[in-house]
Symmetry: C2
Subunit: 373 residues, 2 copies
């Protein structure tokens, strides 16, 4: 049986279930009223602003009626119905203020062991079977990484992947870009050099939140791809030495990318970005485009570099790396706010031609949620 | 005259100018070496990682030669040349750790007084004269807002504005969207209702950092546009009551937008977002798409709502609002991480038809910097 009690002159109520009690404030309840004058019944958008709610709002009465609670608000004398289930789903009581460094609970952190079971699916499955797509999108969400196989290996395959969930983020590199040896390359990606694992475009704000790399040709010696869970190694650093972690989180770094005449991109952003509740939200790590640090005070600079070096060592530690060699018709996607990627150096008689593009996570997560409903 | 001194067993040097002294660490100098084995001379990207620099790096010698400083590093026995001017431009010494709440110095905060001198230019000027474009882009950068006039008033004008500097951010609303009365609107924007000033799409991550609204028709009664400097009102709130400010900065809010079957966008982001150095970097305020707060502990909820209400009052305070009515062929752009916009309700016999689209600031700032060079 459920019970209700109004407390503190109507400023909040207590909803008592057989197991627990949940408190809800009058202002919170009124702001989140589900009636058609508060929320548009067609599109669910809120029709009122906070000023439409009286400052002295309080609960005059609350009664249980079937599986709903009917709240009467003073001074509006308005009765609003809340499904019990909705209230229990949206309870904010009992949540302790948790300012510990953490990753979101729905992310699964990983290391080299993921190599044995790399999340992957076939493009035709993904295009035709919503359940397969849901599973693959969920993998991208929780691991920040997944592969796709079974494409034609013809230029343009890459857009079939973006079309599964969203939209290309166009940049100065185009709607897509060709990763292969070039003469006078504007970016070291367009050479045969090995690249240290990195997140792309930390010199861009907002950073592209997804990157896709799709293989057209890969007969060169070397050129294997590699991915690393940046959240995992950030948490490794934190567990080893919280102070080291805090240097990379509490001071902005600098990143830049320039092309003569055309492009001049500069950012001031931390290597490890935390949300206001100290949830890890973005890793920016890219040795090629790191610019001189200007925002670390003199007395902290050597300690900052020590932390930065340790992070860089964790990036280069094979125990954190998942390695694979893309074949024509294969691709992979990374959450570019979390997962670092790299390729080994390549040379020899063969060729390596990868197409890349950027997209954003909002539409990917939106697609996942609509499939889950 | 300049002087140099090596200190603390070569861990840093002091560069003495007639006015001041600047310290530079060996590790910082080595990491930012400008020679062709450290940075690619063609594209300027860094060729080494931090692990390529010995852990025990130190300065063995430093001498001034003309307008350069030659540093010899142990144990590499490597000599690197640094232009004096470059060193002075990149000095990090003497910068106090500044964790005060602040906005970037290159932003100009504004209120209703900007109405007398709204930054604006003609599209033909902007398309043909780099100096005019530079001025206009600089205005968008420092005010977070500018108008454009002199377009045809034909659908599609809006892309002329994006083409000045960058790329459209495509979303579930399309490459662009039509803001006018619709039957069964998925979004209240597509009605004649007044909308409280807001930033767009706080339910998206990353949020679109620029929005453009371009007028095709506006003969309806009402329908004026209005913009508000979100950084200005956040700083007003901070000056009034730092604790109120901290509630909105230190707890995540929730935003959501849903369309049956197709769209399910949800975020957990603060209304006032600060960088690691407490620089104001993003405002999210949108009554229509605010979702129930779930991350504010019970004991803080009433104080949070008090702060939220005060911020909402500042949004509605006419002293902060710049109002204008768009004519066909006119448009405006806002920095959607900073400037709130709204429109007054409209009705009557006339029509109102606005086209909107999103873009991102990175390319706008890049274009501005290349024009400034």
């Amino acid at each position: 049986m459920f019970g209700i009690e109004i407390c503190n002159s109507g400023s909040f109520m207590i909803l008592k279930t057989p197991q627990e009690s949940f408190r809800f404030h009058a202002i919170w309840l009124r702001d989140n009223a589900l009636d058609e004058t508060t929320r548009d019944p067609l599109n669910g958008q809120k029709l009122i602003t906070l000023q439409d709610i009286p400052k002295n709002i309080r609960l005059d009465a609350a009664v249980i009626q079937g599986d709903e609670i009917l709240c009467t608000f003073f001074p509006e004398n308005k009765i609003i119905r809340y499904p019990l289930e909705w209230l229990l789903d949206h309870s904010y009581d009992g949540k302790k203020e948790n300012r510990a460094i953490k990753t979101s609970l729905d992310k699964v952190l990983w290391d080299k062991n993921l190599e044995k079971s790399v999340p992957t699916d076939n493009i035709s499955e993904l295009e035709s079977k919503p359940d397969s797509l849901k599973k693959w999108l969920f993998d991208v969400h929780r691991y920040g990484f997944a592969k796709v196989s079974g494409m034609t290996g013809i230029p343009g395959d890459i857009f079939r992947i973006v079309d599964l969930f969203g939209y290309v983020r166009e940049t100065n590199y185009g709607r897509h870009f060709e990763v292969r040896n070039k003469i006078n390359p504007v970016n070291l990606a367009y050479t045969g050099l090995a690249l240290q694992a990195h997140t792309d475009n930390p010199y861009r704000d907002p950073v592209p939140t997804l990157q896709i790399l799709s293989c057209i040709e890969n007969t060169a010696q070397g050129g294997e791809s590699m991915v690393i869970d940046g959240f995992k190694i950030a948490m490794l650093l934190y567990d080893e030495d919280p102070q080291s972690f805090s240097f990379l989180a509490n001071f902005p770094a600098r990143y830049s990318y320039n092309e003569p005449k055309n492009v001049s991109l500069h950012t001031k952003k931390p290597m490890i970005e935390l949300g206001p509740d100290n949830e890890l939200i973005c890793i920016r790590f890219n040795s090629r485009s790191s610019a001189p640090l200007l925002d670390v005070p003199f007395n902290s600079m050597e300690k900052y570099y020590k932390s930065y070096r340790r992070f860089s060592e964790l990036v280069d530690d094979h125990r954190n790396q998942v390695t694979f060699k893309l074949k024509p018709g294969e691709a992979f996607i990374v959450d570019n706010t979390r997962v670092l990627h790299s390729r080994k150096g390549y040379s020899g008689g063969g060729k390596r031609w990868i197409q890349g593009c950027y997209a954003d996570k909002d539409s990917l997560l939106s697609k996942l949620r609509t499939l889950e409903k």
